[in-house]
């Protein structure tokens, strides 16, 4: 069990090295001719106006929020699914009720107009 995770830990190091090392080496090899016009923020040739950090729609936050709630609940269902073969009828039904609550949640969000982009 721990040795499985050892593999993943080592893999994490290797996998960071694979894109990281070429990026670093290419930085050594490539030319360095920076100038102020070159380093301007790219906006199709126009000069940037104002701060980059413009105000965003709150809708983005609301989608992220809906996702968070769904994600947390779905993760809880995984142990239930793994144990499915050993569950009693009651166990299966309480899992189904859990999913139904999730469904009701989706319908509630739908009714509230959360899922509309416009």
């Amino acid at each position: 069990m721990q040795s499985d995770w050892l593999f993943i830990g080592l893999f994490l190091l290797i996998v960071a090295l694979f894109p990281g090392a070429p990026i670093f080496l290419a930085g050594l090899i490539g030319p360095h001719k920076s100038s102020i016009p070159k380093a301007q923020t790219y906006e199709c040739g126009l000069e940037t106006v104002g701060e980059t950090w413009v105000q965003f729609r709150v809708q983005y936050y609301i989608f992220a929020l809906t996702f968070l709630v769904f994600d947390v609940e779905l993760v809880f269902l995984f142990p239930w699914a793994v144990a499915f073969g050993q569950l009693s009828m009651f166990g299966v039904l309480s899992g189904v009720i859990f999913i139904l609550i999730l469904f009701a949640e989706l319908l509630a969000a739908w009714r509230k107009g959360v899922l509309e982009w416009a």
């Binding site: 709150v58 936050y61 929020l65 968070l68 709630v69 947390v72």
Partner: protein, 102 residues
């Protein structure tokens, strides 16, 4: 082998760092981050006690799962409140949120 004490001390330090953040930061979002650190240190304790004290039971894990759910709910509502306050008062400095004083 790692003794239980290491985990407990680590969790205590993390909890105190989180507490410091909650007490000291001005920004309301940063305060919530401090609360997250505190919740996580509690979770480490739960899992560590499960592993070292009652590894054949499941209570520690079930508790930790509930803590995950509560943390998610807390963040969702907390940040929504902050966004709502920001929209009304254009500020998320915790000291400015004194509407309830009067």
């Amino acid at each position: 082998m790692i003794p239980l004490s290491w985990y407990l001390i680590f969790a205590a330090i993390l909890f105190c760092i989180g507490l410091y953040g909650v007490l000291v930061r001005k920004n309301a979002i940063a305060i919530l981050m401090g609360i997250e650190l505190m919740l996580n240190s509690v979770n480490i304790n739960l899992i560590a006690f499960w592993r070292y004290r009652s590894a054949d039971g499941i209570a520690g894990q079930a508790f930790a799962i509930i803590v995950f759910a509560v943390a998610a709910a807390e963040v969702a509502v907390g940040l929504a409140l902050i966004i709502s306050i920001y929209r009304r008062r254009s500020s998320i400095v915790a000291d400015d949120m004194n509407m309830m004083k009067w």
